[in-house]
């Protein structure tokens, strides 16, 4: 609360200056746009397959590339974008950082946070912005939390999701399996909350597209699969016959050892094997090769889903600023959620946000580590307004009514 009371001074000073510029609105007025990128660095517990850990700066570098892209565009319009980055490994500290950025006058946030921190932070920001009594409020992009609940019943104000929900990923995979007539699934999962959530999304997808889960098992053995996979896995996967093994193991604790070790010689899909992702190095079509090479030049590594989600978040803000020529958060929000908004995201279609729950509609690539296998939605999965809405939660399936609250 103290923090909150402290804000008007800095806020006023800042806006006296920038407000002048806003009202001029001419193409030649210099416009500065501040975006806060907040990351909570999480400790991952040790996993069996620890060969390829997630890069520490996953997400951040995507935002940085988008900033670079947007400033190249911005210099023709006298728009300059700034990224204020805060990284912490402590949720308390993260919240303090967010409050500090708000007090500095920042209203545009990119959150690389787990769901619970995201909810706490967004609630705090919503309250703070309501209390100002002005129409000015905040716009938040979620680039990490894939929780379905955030799109269905735990709706949070001011939040747009550029990362696909687990349901979107699961539906993308299930459509492909359905198309391939791989209808009988063995579902195996790890023990984490995330694994259960992933498995649940796969169950939902099985039902939606008329597939059958012949058996479901949880991996709980304590064996060292690096030595014993060939012995353990066939036994573990010896069930009623299936067409495919669906793995739910987000951290890669045992899933990597399932391939080629199943009781029946069947493909492995899910978090390992054929994997639905927001982004991967193997996506090269639709001009994606250019984005990949820009990213590699900047970072020296491959671009992953989180980098892509952050890139989309910053690009969404910049695209709205370019088209509306303002940094006023409310105008940007209205524009982004309107049908005028379109973003080129290197997936062969224009991307935009679902008005009910703020989820970015996007095709989902299905990849294995060295090539792109397919991209969902699959042909033939129809929808009255957008085929992309066959992935994830459609309006009737969600209680969220974001547009009304924007």
């Amino acid at each position: 609360m103290n923090n909150y009371i402290g804000w008007p001074g800095t806020y006023l000073l800042r806006y006296l200056l920038s407000g002048l510029l806003f009202f001029m609105h001419s193409a030649h007025a210099q416009l500065d746009v501040d975006i806060a990128y907040i990351k909570l660095q999480q400790e991952h517990r040790p996993v069996l397959s620890n060969i390829l850990p997630e890069p520490k700066d996953a997400g951040l570098r995507g935002a940085e590339l988008a900033l670079q892209d947007s400033n190249t565009t911005g210099r023709f319009l006298k728009q300059t974008f700034h990224l204020r980055t805060d990284i912490s490994d402590n949720p308390e500290e993260t919240l303090t950082q967010i409050q500090f950025r708000y007090e500095q006058g920042i209203r545009l946030f990119v959150f690389d946070l787990p769901a619970d921190t995201l909810k706490t932070a967004s609630t705090w920001l919503a309250k703070a912005s309501l209390n100002t009594g002005t129409t000015d409020d905040v716009l938040i992009f979620n680039t990490q939390a894939k929780e379905n609940a955030l799109r269905v019943n735990q709706c949070i104000d001011n939040v747009l999701h550029t990362i696909p929900s687990r349901a979107m990923l699961a539906d993308a995979l299930a459509q492909w399996l359905t198309e391939k007539r791989l209808n009988k699934w063995l579902l195996i999962k790890g023990s984490t909350e995330a694994d259960h959530a992933y498995a649940q999304s796969m169950q939902r997808a099985a039902k939606r597209f008329g597939n059958k889960i012949v058996a479901q098992k949880q991996w709980s053995f304590d064996t060292d699969l690096r030595r014993l996979a060939q012995k353990e896995m066939p036994l573990f996967t010896q069930t009623e016959e299936y067409d495919v093994v669906v793995v739910a193991d987000e951290l890669g604790d045992f899933g990597e050892y399932v391939l080629y070790n199943t009781w029946y010689p069947r493909p492995v899909v899910g978090t390992q094997g054929l994997t639905p992702v927001a982004w991967h190095r193997v996506v090269e079509q639709w001009g994606a090769a250019q984005l990949q090479s820009r990213f590699e030049k900047l970072t020296g590594r491959w671009m992953d889903s989180k980098d892509y989600a952050s890139w989309l978040a910053v690009r969404s803000i910049a695209e709205a600023v370019t088209r509306t020529n303002t940094a006023d958060t409310n105008t940007l929000k209205q524009y982004i959620i309107s049908d005028k908004f379109e973003l080129a995201g290197f997936k062969g279609r224009k991307l935009n946000f679902r008005t009910w729950n703020g989820q970015l509609r996007q095709p989902i690539p299905l990849v294995h580590p060295r090539s792109l296998v397919s991209q969902s939605p699959q042909a033939g999965f129809l929808h009255p307004s957008s085929e992309l809405d066959t992935l994830g939660f459609d309006a009737p399936e969600s209680q969220c009514r974001l547009a009304k609250r924007f």
Partner: protein, 326 residues
């Protein structure tokens, strides 16, 4: 006995072919992006007569005014190659800046305006002295490039910045920018240099821009039965010399649209190969040839009948195309 017969037959046919070729058969050159080759097509027989190795990832290609030389953007070799068309030998490599994708030749037949896709730059090169005359900062992923027929203005599109950038060819400086819809790919001037056509691949439309005011005056949109609107992705544009028609390649919609340039109404959609990218006319503009990226072929369209009449298999990912009239 049989052998000699065959030989005479062979010689006769060869002679015939040769005489056809000397009787000024028109030739199409197609760059195959994934094969690092050019396909050479005889437009009398519609056959590929040669496949020539060139630099890596060849995309934009363009003829010199006298049609004796072919300029090739070898994107991954970071160079523009110059091919002598009488010998099919690369005779020169021009400094193009990194990752040249598309380019345009100034009516002075000397200055090449090159889009450097990875570097957000446009490079101007003197083809005679191989000198880089200027490098101009443009938007992210510069792509389309055109010089007005009167030679005064060059324009470049940037795919991620979503702008048309206007360059004064005399001062070689950027003078203005026009915001267009998502992923502008290709630009084409009308013959009188007064109107600019710019396609937006993801925006799904073509902006008609008044060159004097640099304002968009009209947007052409497309609708094809049975094709999802998102799959209609305009790329290449060709304007007929008589000023009547514009042809727009619609990418994964697998069609080209024929537009009346007076009313901006779409008159016809012609089904061609898969993911149609760029186009070229033959000399009298009775034929229009399209490169189809995914199906790896070239479609020949009869312009009068507005119908595809032939498809010719070329290399992988055919990209650019030009026709040498003799």
């Amino acid at each position: 006995m049989k052998k000699t017969q065959r030989l005479t037959q062979f010689l006769a046919i060869s002679a015939l072919l040769l005489s056809v070729q000397t009787a000024q058969a028109q030739t199409a050159y197609v760059s195959n992006e994934k094969d690092d080759t050019l396909s050479v097509i005889n437009l009398d027989t519609y056959e590929v007569t040669a496949t020539i190795d060139v630099g890596q990832r060849p995309r934009g290609i363009i003829l010199s005014k006298d049609q004796s030389k072919l300029y090739i953007c070898a994107s991954d070799s970071d160079t523009v190659q110059v091919m002598d068309l009488s010998t099919h030998q690369i005779i020169k490599e021009l400094p193009s800046g990194e990752d040249p994708e598309q380019f345009a030749l100034h009516p002075n037949d000397r200055h090449l305006y090159i889009a450097n896709e990875d570097d957000a730059l446009a490079t101007i090169v003197d083809t005679q002295t191989s000198e880089v005359l200027a490098q101009i900062d443009v938007g992210v992923e510069p792509e389309g490039m055109a010089v007005s027929p009167d030679g005064k203005i060059a324009v470049n599109t940037s795919e991620t910045t979503n702008m048309v950038h206007w360059i004064d060819t005399e001062t070689m400086q950027l003078v203005d920018n026009t915001l267009v819809d998502q992923r502008p790919r290709h630009v084409e001037f009308s013959k009188d240099s007064k109107v600019l056509w710019a396609s937006s691949e993801i925006g799904g439309n073509v902006s008609i821009i008044d060159v004097a005011s640099r304002q968009i005056t009209h947007k052409v949109t497309f609708k094809i039965r049975g094709v999802h609107p998102d799959k209609i992705q305009p790329v290449g544009i060709k304007l007929s010399d008589d000023g009547q028609y514009a042809f727009v390649a619609l990418g994964p919609a697998n069609h080209i649209a024929v537009i009346d340039t007076k009313t901006f109404k779409v008159l016809e959609y012609i089904l061609v190969g898969r993911r149609v990218w760029h186009m070229a006319f033959n000399a009298d503009q009775s034929l229009l040839l399209t490169t189809n990226g995914i199906s790896g072929d070239v479609t020949v369209v009869d312009v009068a009948k507005m119908k595809a009449i032939k498809s010719i298999k070329v290399g992988r990912y055919p990209w650019g195309i030009v026709v040498k009239s003799q």
